[in-house]
Symmetry: C2
Subunit: 643 residues, 2 copies
Amino acid sequence: MAKNSPNTKIRVHFEPDNTDIIAEPGANLRETALAAGVHINASCGGAGTCGTCKVMIKKGEVESIRTARVSDEEYASGIRQACQSTVITDLIVQIPVASRLEKAVLAREKKAMVAGIQPSVALAKGWGFNPPVSKLLLELPPPTLKDNISDLSRLLRGLKQQYDLTSVSVEFTVIKKLARVLRDGDWKVTVTTLRDSKPRLTVTNVEPGDTRARHYSLAFDIGTTAVRGQLLDLNRGKVLAQSLDYNGQISYGEDVISRIAYSQKPGGLKKLGRAVVGTINGLLQELTKQAGTEVKDISHMVIAGNTVMVQLLLGLDPKYIRLSPYVPTVNIAPPVRASSLGIGVEEHVHLYALPSVASYVGGDIVAGILGTGVYQRKTVTLYIDIGTNGEIVIGNSDFMVTASCSAGPAFEGGGIKQGMLATSGAIEGFSISPSNFEPMVTTIGGTKPKGICGSGLINIVAGLLRAGAISQNGKFNTELATSRIRQGEDGYEYILAWAPETQIGRDIVFTEIDIDNLIRAKAAMYAGCQTLIKSLGAKCSNIEQVIIAGTFGSNIDIENAITIGLLPDLPLDKFIFIGNGSLLGARLTSFSTDLAGDGQRIARMMTNFELSENADFMNNYVAALFLPHTNVDEFSSVKIKVG
Amino acid sequence: MAKNSPNTKIRVHFEPDNTDIIAEPGANLRETALAAGVHINASCGGAGTCGTCKVMIKKGEVESIRTARVSDEEYASGIRQACQSTVITDLIVQIPVASRLEKAVLAREKKAMVAGIQPSVALAKGWGFNPPVSKLLLELPPPTLKDNISDLSRLLRGLKQQYDLTSVSVEFTVIKKLARVLRDGDWKVTVTTLRDSKPRLTVTNVEPGDTRARHYSLAFDIGTTAVRGQLLDLNRGKVLAQSLDYNGQISYGEDVISRIAYSQKPGGLKKLGRAVVGTINGLLQELTKQAGTEVKDISHMVIAGNTVMVQLLLGLDPKYIRLSPYVPTVNIAPPVRASSLGIGVEEHVHLYALPSVASYVGGDIVAGILGTGVYQRKTVTLYIDIGTNGEIVIGNSDFMVTASCSAGPAFEGGGIKQGMLATSGAIEGFSISPSNFEPMVTTIGGTKPKGICGSGLINIVAGLLRAGAISQNGKFNTELATSRIRQGEDGYEYILAWAPETQIGRDIVFTEIDIDNLIRAKAAMYAGCQTLIKSLGAKCSNIEQVIIAGTFGSNIDIENAITIGLLPDLPLDKFIFIGNGSLLGARLTSFSTDLAGDGQRIARMMTNFELSENADFMNNYVAALFLPHTNVDEFSSVKIKVG
């Protein structure tokens, strides 16, 4: 095929999106897709190492670096890694199911959110409903020659006389419109005040007439994968609407490390900022539509997120978070105007971010501790949020220690041969016949399977282990009478589904390398727990309650998680799922000034352990590289069939 | 002459500037000049009432509304009021001397400023040199795994450990660059802090390395007519440079009332803001050049100005200042980022405006009271700043009353047939021969005369009164044997200079109407003093010191001012000139946090009297419409020849 001349523009057509874009010859194919608004998964952020961005070139020519991620068979069929390809001629590119972002699973969570049952045993107590942002009605006497103090002095005098408020600051944006608003409202106005943690009171808005009935706030959890938002009624303390969407940054890399890497590219920090703000603004429209409210009546915004997410949203370079000794720019950020970040609310809306503890223990964890009231009770609690970076907190009202465990991406399907995010088609449920070792799998969305998600992995390993199909060091028992276990290209593997039963038209398998990855992930989490417990001079049995936070955690089977040695071997009734602790904490912070102050107290109270260079952690980690553990006494309840 | 078709563009050439501009047919000639950057005086701001914007159409055609301000003779010679004319064809327009802004007199003041002698008897005392803005050197330990708190926490810990500073706020702009600056400076940085009046401490800047040696501030007096600025060294408490220029707003009207009127036109408020900011930025360049410093090393800015000037600079609509009951939006404005107003300093520079007392008693007066220490002494002082709006303060450390007298523009040459600003060619000195009534006049700049300035008016009336050439009710003695007094087109007049002796080629005269205007102006000032004195239950003789502030005041002859009844009849040694009290106060505020707090105290301490609808003031005013006064006992020292 004749190549285009260098000046020719190239048309790239993406399927199944049916989206076209004009590109320069030599443009990177993944970036071209990004520019066209077409999502291609890319766990590694475009480094070429993960293989999740595979596409099929149906027509036209690309120049491509081939890595071990593309098999001979795939290569022959036109499969290329988008991030490793540059466009040469006009193209028709097919994004395979495995590389697409599926929104179905979010719809599942959306339903669950609306149901929204919060276990009251793990909820902060003793707080008053007194939002940091208030609306006050002021009826002022109009000026006369005998009383012609400035408009601002009249406002402040009114606040003092009618509400006994003194030492009030007034934002310049309020002063700018004050003369007009006072007269438009015929000296009857609604004043919005913001109380910060010092505590200091600031007037952030003034509106003509009585607008007190319209007084809302936003609570957002800014997750690495998904962004979850709620619209709150600040008069009645109610959730009026809630929704969620994938974090728009996901196209630039799936974990915080690839996001940080992307932020270091020219313009990267800005692009990441715009991406998450785009997601927030989309949700904002949806929330106000759901609730039948107007954006202009939103008075406040509280967010919680991990340290990297918060820094990216605030436009702070996260470079040093990734480099030892892992220093964030800020843990306790001052409130900023949400509009200054591009968020589509009115100028007077301040955004408060829940404080972080350290580079890898963020405001989402502080929010969870706040919302669940761990810091208020004597009960010694293990709070655990499992993920690529699993965060652990152990403590009560007297003390709190925390650590982040770099578990790797296995829990989110990363580094697993046929792993995937917990979206439609992911194998989650697994059981195995102890007699013929045939599996029974269920998928998210009930569709034909296309891969394996993190919670599925736990169930699969636990099932295989109990059935004696794998040994405690994670090797397949190759002597079993089953065709399900075979020698694959990456060593031994177990066939979860035969090609005809799948969406992807090839066998879905689970390999010894996958088992190894999962063992390392669970070992990191468990070793983190052990290290913290030991640092307190305590034992596992001292833990009186385990709170499992996060979307991933909500979907795991506790018994199976104990069986593989991910969670400590404690009675099942000690475990509580609380779902999204981050959003819970953000919401309560928006409802209560008392709790807003507690956020900083919690962040300061927590002692962070950096595990990455901690010798004790390394020992615990090595000891945990076994199913469930090298020390059988730690998992006395786990019954496995020793093969 | 054939008119241009409506689509034709018209070329307007201005002399003596030699500036061309292309205009639309029908464009207003004065606005065309403004657009071309050519200044034409316009006391009334373009209403057509003052006649100061006269121009000569040397070639081409305008359409013009003729008012009484243009004589038959002028009209025949091609003289038109620019504000009343629209362009029809290509034009050559001559701006006559009388309509031009002369910078010579500013050069005179510039010299005087550099000499800069401040009478120490009237200077605030007992203040420490402790600028609100400080630079602190911090040497921080680099982070390690055992000490990996956030960059911000490290900074705050350093401020606490090394300077014992707690409860410090940090601006988000600082947080944005913190990670980079800390590492660029290898953990040695200079922190700029701002202490406000609460007192609260805010970190406004952070720079790599030790920049303490470069630490400057700006003090500005934003006058209606002129803007005066100083560049200050905050390490040594020295004035490094000073300069002044006409306020760029002068092209939109000469007094505050015409500025307010202009601000109500579409885009007017923005244009006025840009005009004064342009003036400030020009001076900023000049000041840093003079001092050999760089703009980036400026840490702070303090301004003082009347309430209208401050509101216009801050972009606050001054509409309600002009309407009864005369309410400003703000008297005590919070500090704003100077850069947000367009001032060409770095983002971290906060602008602090000295507080006002009321719509017509501004921060310039508060600055003067602050700088002269009136509020610190027991001495009962009359502080007076004479101008279109003359401000008066009477008080001491126990009490203070103030009022603004709407004297009208006479003191600035307005409303006077051949009046002008105190610029080059203005008649200022005047004496008269008691025998033949011939005058001797001197002008500013020593040039041929072209008009009469305000201080000249006082000297002329006092001279004519002493010589018996005018009566105590301001009428010419027409029976004197002199050709200098004649019947003119506006009634009787005195010829100060014959046409051949002038720059303008016609007789410079002083009319009975002019005398009447001056009498009304001085009566307003004096009645204001009387009203305040009476409000205190005191008498004129209780005044122990008179401080005369302002450029105009600095040029008046005290004896003559008493002779005409403008100033109270007190011994001459009680009078002190302090020049620009506004700039003095702004400078001291920049040098001392103590005094910065005193500014608000003074503003709150002053009781403002609105004279415009005060019956006592009206009685005093009517009684003062006589030379020197209807009550001769009040001016017993004045010896006049009763004709």
